[in-house]
Every structure is written in C-alpha cells, then in structure tokens.
Amino acid sequence: MNPRTLYDKIWDEHLVATRTDGTSLIYIDRHLVHEVTSPQAFEGLREAGRPLRRPNTILSVADHNVPTIDREKGIDDETCRLQVEALEANVKAYGVPYLPLLDDCQGIVHVVGPEQGFTLPGTTIVCGDSHTSTHGAFGALAFGIGTSEVEHVMATQTLPQRKSRNLRVRFEGRLPRGLGAKDLALALIGHIGTAGGTGHVMEFTGPAVRALSMEGRMTLCNMSIEGGARSGLVAPDETTFTYLHGRPLAPKRAMWEAALAHWRTLASDENAAFDTEITLEVGSLAPQVTWGTSPQWVTDIAGRVPDPETAASTDDRQSMLRALEYMDLRPGTPIEAIELQAVFIGSCTNGRIEDLREAAAVARGRKVAQGVRALVVAGSGLVKRQAEAEGLDRIFLEAGFEWRQPGCSMCLGMNDDRLAEGVRCASTSNRNFEGRQGRGSRTHLVSPGMAAAAAVTGHFTDVRRLMEA
C-alpha cells in the first residue's frame, strides 16, 4: 500500500461508500450537540418523521447560552432559556445522553468531550460548531458542520464529503519558557493567513508539538479553523494515552489494550506525501498579541501596531485601515503601550486546567489593575472543581478577578457576559472579529499568561518579566 498520512488513514477507515457523483459517504462515530445549532435539526427530523439512528453516539450539553453566575436560580433571559429548554426536551424525546446544566460535568462541548473520554484517537467527530477541530488533538478527524448536516448525521450517521488536501505544519525547536500553544497557533495564522488552510486538513508535527500537553494540543487544534483548515490533527502518543486512560467513556481493560494497539498505528507513514508543507522555527518566538479584527493580524509583545502604508496591496491597506479604526489604534503604537479595560480568561481555546494554572501563577500575590474588569470562566464544571481543589479560585479572587461558572461566556457573549461598546479586552478566546464580544468591543487575542499579565498591569506586558519577578 502507498504511504499514507494520518488523515488518509482515518478517512479510509471511515469510508462507507463512494457514490457515482464522486462524493464519499463517511461514517461519523461521535456527535457533540449543543443548544444553539441543534433545534432546527431536531425539528427537521420530527417534520420528516425520521428516527435518530444512534442516540448513544451523541453527547449533548448546553454551553453557549448559559449564565455563569447564580445558575441555580435559572436563566433570566427568555430566549436563552427557551433554547436550553428546547435542547432538554429534544434530548429527552430522542433518548440522547445529556449533561444537565447543574451537573458537575457540564461545560463547553469541546472541553467536556475530551475530559469524558468521549473523544478517542482514530474516530470521526462532528459538532455544529466550528471549533470541533479541537478534538483533532487526539488524532481524531473532527470538524464543524452546519445544522442541516447535524440533522444528516442524526438521521444517517454519515456525511457526504469531499476529501481535503493534506497540509503538514512542522514546529521546529523548543518553545521558550513562558510561551505555549496559543503563541504557536497565533504565530502560524499570522504566517499563513485566515484562509491559508482552506481546503486542507492540517497535521501538526515537530518537537515543539510533541512537547505539548494534551491541553496545549487542544489549544493548537482548536485554532486550526482560524487558519481556514477543515481540521487539525496531532498523531496520538503516550501523552494522549496517559490522558485518556481511566476517563469515564474511554475503553476499559481488554478493550483498552485492543484500542491501544490500533491507536499506535495512527501516524503518518514516513514517506507520506503532503500537498503543502509549512515549517516554523519557534525557538526564538515571543508572546503573541493580535492588534486587528482578524486572528491573522498578530505581532509579538515587542512589536508595534503596523502602518497600513506598508500593506502589500490596496485591498490590504483598506482592510487594515478599517481594522485600526475599529480597534482605535494608531500605527506605530508599541503593543506594550496598549491599555485594557477588560480581561477574559476562558473559552474552548484556553479554559482548561493548565490554562488556569498558567494565569494563576501570574495573578498570585498581585492585584488586578485599577479600571480593569477581569473574568475567569472555567471551561467545565470539572475544570472548576479541580481549580478550586488547587486553590486557584482563591488566588484569582484575592487578586480581584471574578470567578464564574462554566460556559462559553464572554468568548461570544450570547449570555450576559458581554463587553460594552469601545471596551478593549485581552482575551484567551479564538476570535477577534468586529463585535464578537459585544457590539463595538475590541478584542486582542493572547495566551492565558499574557491575559493575566495584562490584567495585573493594565496594559500588555511580556509575561516573562512577571515570571522572573
């Protein structure tokens, strides 16, 4: 057999049929469902009188719309409440496993899936959410789909697909202390642009990726969609297996051994051909900060807001001018001179236990700067509980951060956690689009350590300086 990439192998293993029109029918092993993109899918099934083919391959949870404060009292916002209630009614009617709002295991779908052991190497995973790419960290083929496709998977357990191209990203060298997966992701997107990965599945390789924890790999794969890729992939290894072992839904005993034997074959063959190759040397990377309204507009902490006059084309110059106007930034301003009024630590990108540890290490013994509102929102109830067991909540609260209940929260502000017009925020989430965190709000994407450093100094600061102190 020809040498194959990891993506080729997972694809081949899930091919149900090749149809006369050239499309392939791909089997879907796992399906994550949340309240925002599922109501119309359930409605479609109901209208067509179709059964849900395999309810047990689904894990459902409400995360986008949920309050992060006083949740026990219910949801005030009526439209949010109706959507959560619709999910609860639908999962009940169709017998779909569901993690209730007040359950300790509730959280953001992309945090919950891995921690339950629902996400396994070599499986196909979909969700009506673009950041489904997160699960690729386990060597699963995971991608976001629209609501019509959600309905398609519910009805048939398959999706018609076209094969993507293979892209390999090699991160060479060792990340400097104080930098993490978020910096890798932002640096990559800065390099290739938000459409750089379009039509591709990205496999992340190289020593800097092997050295990442599962949390870091999830952060990296989470943002592959921001580079336009269909999915991100990291081949599973001992780090993956150690993380998964003993998780509630992971295979057990003899089944675990059988799975392990298969999972060890899940790597790109030595001579496998990639359509595109990108190599980045990361040994001298500095912490990354976005300055515009697209994740590709990024520089490092020692950098300055760029001058649109240096743009490559008229179109680029116009986009940059528009972004700088929206962000209220002047060309040439040092990144360190940008002052913040808000800090958000959380989301499916950086709402895991390691992220909170990284932020807490900076917050410890310091105070949130005057005029800054800082929020810490754990990605799941289990993350929150673990953080509390380690005393991280005390560190944050003593420093003046708010400590909230799990959910998507200020990543997109579908609940009440929104920024007011003109407010500038250092955020550990994944998108800095216009209005993303609230109409007229200004988002700068950074790592958890950099967000905490911004919170305690009131402006962007190289987190490494606070680490040395």
Binding site: N56, T57, G128, T132, G146, H152, R230, A259, M414, G435
Partner: protein, 200 residues
C-alpha cells in the same frame, strides 16, 4: 428544496475581504428555534446604528440594493463560525447567489444545504461585475455569470450542481445507501469494538 436554475437580479457590492459569519448574523440572533425570519437582521451591526436605525451609507439600505438577490464580495467569504444562520439570513433577505473569489469551507457547504449558490470568480471579475449597471444573470446550467457586456464562466463540482438544479434532499439521497451503512456498522463493530460507547 426549491431548485436553482437561472437567477437574474440586482447585485449588491460588498467588496470587503474575510466577511465572517459573526458579521453576517451576530450572536444575539442565534437564539432562534426556527430557520426563518433572520433576513431583517442580516449584517445587523453594520446595517443599523446602536439605536436600531438604518445606516444610510450601508449598501443594503440603498435603492436598488434593498432588493438585491446577488451579493458581490471579497475573498474568504463566510469565515468563522459554522452557524447555518448565516445562509438562512442571506436567503431570508432574498439573496440566492454570492459571488466571491473564495469561500470558507463550512459556509460553502451550508449554502448548498439551503439552495444558495456560491460562485467563485476572480477578484478582477467581481470588480468588473460591480461596475455593471442593472441586473446580473447567474446561469447555473451553463455555469456563467453575465452582466452588461461581460460574461464570466465559473467552475462547480457536478455533485454540488445537481443538488441545486434538482433541489435535492441530501438525507433522502443518503438513504439510498442505507444497506452500505448497515454493512459498515457490522464490520466496524467487529474490527474496532472499542469505538462503541459503553457507559461504565
């Protein structure tokens, strides 16, 4: 689904690059339980001011573009979230075809699920079409866009074309493969039994 054959209509130029789905339909409108009614909120943050009044400088608030059925846009249209609310909002407004140099993957697929035609043309072609006075014609059977003295051919995968031309229901199409799916499931249970979820 309503078939798509030939469309003649007003084309609104919105020539920005990277028009993301947050811009097309912002989060506050994702709380709906239905597919319809989103047209009035299309491009909400740039179409209305903070008091909810129309901004006269926004293209879709100007005659004749209020009645546009075609959108001309810059590269990487529809990037960002997977929300199908984006094509729902476009369609509800009356847009049936989007002409742009490139599209984000998930958005592109979502268009076909809703009878919308995304047409990939070079930026130069888009800019030329934006100067045409009067309506454009998007002719799907022959894969051409015409306007004024201009005419541009476009590529489209035959399977995608068939879905639009015939207004096919994708789930019904897949149901033709039910025997293959069942056979796959039997095989997979044997070869990869650990994939079956067992709640312990």
């Amino acid at each position: 689904m309503e078939p798509f054959t030939t469309l003649t209509g007003i084309a609104a130029p919105l020539l920005r690059a990277n028009i993301d789905t947050d811009l097309i339909i912002p989060k506050q409108f994702l709380k709906t339980l239905v597919r319809s009614g989103l047209g009035q909120h299309l491009f909400h943050e740039v179409r209305y001011d903070s008091e909810g009044r129309e901004r006269p400088d926004f293209i879709l608030n100007q005659a004749p573009y209020r009645g546009a059925s075609i959108l001309l846009a810059g590269p990487n249209f529809g990037c960002g979230s997977s929300r199908e609310h984006a094509p729902w909002a476009l369609k509800d407004f009356g847009i049936r075809a989007i002409l742009a140099p490139s599209f984000a993957d998930i958005f592109y697929t979502n268009c076909f699920s809703n009878g919308l035609l995304p047409v990939a043309l070079s930026m130069a072609a888009i800019e030329t079409l934006a100067t045409v006075e009067g309506p454009l014609t998007v002719d799907l059977p022959v894969q051409r866009v015409r306007g004024g003295d201009h005419s541009f051919a476009f590529d489209l995968e035959p399977a995608r074309k068939a879905v639009l031309l015939e207004g096919l229901d994708e789930i019904r199409r897949t149901e033709a493969n039910l025997a293959d799916i069942a056979a796959y499931e039997t095989r997979r249970r044997k070869e990869a039994p650990w994939v079956e979820i067992r709640v312990h």
